[in-house]
């Protein structure tokens, strides 16, 4: 698997859709780290994280034909696959038993899950700069994959407030990222 030095995104997508092995190798070399980063922030355990990342690349390979460039960048598409795969993993029985993950309706839910000094890189590093209430919402929705409805019920705040706060939080993310 010797990867070509660089691919232009359109060319890479075209080659991936043609199931080009070299393009896949390139994809792994260039994106595995970024995707592993998001996976690890959700599942934390290295072994589980590796399993998830493998699933993610198998999914990318299988689903590449359904990727539609008009709906966003390739990375965004892969990032969402990685995030969803990791969240799915945290919800599996084995994972829950292993880590004794607290269910959504637990009282401890209100504690901000994003902790400084532990996994404060990438997106979380940025999220740490948000207000606690915003950070909590991002954590629950983005890293734990709960719906707005679920969050509203769990935190006992109106759905509209959840939405408004989340929108404000992500708007701030944009400013912080750029």
């Amino acid at each position: 698997m010797n990867a070509k030095a660089t691919y232009e995104e359109g060319e890479l997508i075209h080659l991936l859709k043609q199931k080009d092995e070299q393009a896949f190798s390139y994809l792994y070399s260039n994106y595995a780290g970024a995707l592993y980063g998001i996976v690890k922030q959700i599942v934390t355990d290295t072994e589980v994280g590796s399993d998830v990342l493998q699933e993610v690349f198998v999914s990318i390979w299988k689903k590449i034909d359904s990727y539609d460039p008009s709906k966003g960048r390739l990375f965004t598409w892969m990032l969402n696959i990685a995030r969803n795969a990791a969240i799915d993993k945290t919800r599996s029985k084995n994972y829950q038993q292993g880590l004794r993950q607290q269910p959504i309706d637990d009282n401890e839910l209100s504690l901000p899950v994003v902790r400084p000094g532990y996994d404060d890189y990438g997106l979380k590093k940025v999220i740490l700069k948000l207000k606690d209430e915003q950070r909590l919402l991002i954590d629950l929705s983005y890293y734990q994959g709960f719906t707005h409805d679920q969050i509203a019920k769990a935190l006992n705040i109106p759905l509209g407030t959840v939405k408004t706060r989340l929108r404000t939080a992500v708007t701030q993310l944009r400013t912080m990222l750029s």
């Binding site: 698997m1 199931k19 092995e21 896949f24 190798s25 792994y28 070399s29 994106y31 595995a32 780290g33 970024a34 592993y36 980063g37 998001i38 690890k40 290295t46 994280g49 590796s50 990342l53 493998q54 690349f57 198998v58 390979w61 299988k62 008009s70 709906k71 966003g72 960048r73 990375f75 965004t76 990032l79 969402n80 995030r83 969803n84 890189y121 990438g122 997106l123 590093k125 940025v126 929705s141 983005y142 719906t147 707005h148 989340l166 929108r167 404000t168 939080a169 992500v170 708007t171 993310l173 944009r174 990222l177 750029s178």
Partner: protein, 265 residues
């Protein structure tokens, strides 16, 4: 709809991060197709997100790449296996299949040969046509050259007399020359300047002998403007020459009201 407000509402980031409901996603995608500025805002956020996550990438365990490769490429191997199954029957081809294959090849070959031959035949025909055209052109060029040579030699002969035909009141600017070979009796006309006649009329050259006109022929409208000199009908004797404008095809007697040029020998 206020696009700016929509963009700054947080929908763009929520969409990219996957934090929207199905309805919101559908609406966002529909609006993207309509407003390029939304797409631009989306692309901007996507890129900054990608950059941040790439900068803070976490290297996965080194063994994982090989593991992923093994997990991914058996799929590819299966695909190529099932493809190669279609290729194996080559060994089971019977003699008649060879015959059929050979016939197909022969047929294809003869078709190609036929098409080629047909093409060559058409090319040859085209060349022949072009040849004919060139020959015709050469003929006419040679003819013209011969005429010019003849005219030139004719003009140099001492026995050739020239008549300068001047414009009349009908057409004062008109001017022509007639050369008459007193030995061969040939008549040549050189039109220096005469107005182009309408399509239903033609100029006609006359020789005048003792006040009587002798028809020396009509001047072809297409020809007289191109040619330097026109050979007309010969005449035994002449004192003067004149050109009148006649109805197409010419007249038996000249229409004197339409006398354009006239000149004595």
């Amino acid at each position: 709809m206020n696009v700016k407000e929509y963009i700054s509402s947080g929908i763009v980031e929520s969409y990219v991060l996957g934090l929207v409901t199905d309805a919101e996603r559908q609406e966002f995608e529909a609006l993207c197709a309509q407003y390029p500025e939304i797409v631009q805002a989306r692309a901007q956020f996507e890129l900054s997100l990608e950059n941040t996550l790439s900068q803070d990438a976490v290297p996965p365990p080194p063994f994982l790449k090989e593991k992923v490769r093994e997990a991914v490429f058996p799929l590819a191997a299966e695909v190529s296996d099932s493809q190669s199954e279609y290729q194996t029957p080559v060994r089971h081809i019977n003699w008649w299949k060879w015959v059929a294959a050979a016939s197909v090849i022969l047929l294809a070959g003869s078709l190609i040969w036929g098409l080629n031959t047909n093409k060559k035949y058409r090319q040859a025909q085209e060349l022949a046509q072009q040849n004919t055209i060139l020959e015709t052109r050469l003929d006419s060029a040679e003819k013209q050259l011969n005429e010019l040579n003849m005219v030139a030699t004719t003009l140099q002969k001492p026995e050739v007399k020239a008549a300068s035909l001047q414009g009349t009141d009908v057409s004062p600017a008109s001017f022509a020359n007639v050369y008459w070979d007193t030995t061969t009796k040939d008549v040549y006309l050189l039109i220096n300047n005469m107005p182009a006649p309408s399509t239903d009329k033609q100029y006609q050259l006359w020789a005048l002998l003792n006040g009587k006109p002798v028809d020396l022929g009509i001047i072809d409208n297409g020809v007289w403007q191109q040619k330097l000199m026109i050979k007309m009908k010969g005449v035994e004797e002449a004192q003067a020459f004149a050109i009148t404008l006649e109805p197409k095809g010419g007249s038996v007697n000249p229409t004197m009201e339409q006398l354009y040029v006239v000149g004595k020998l």
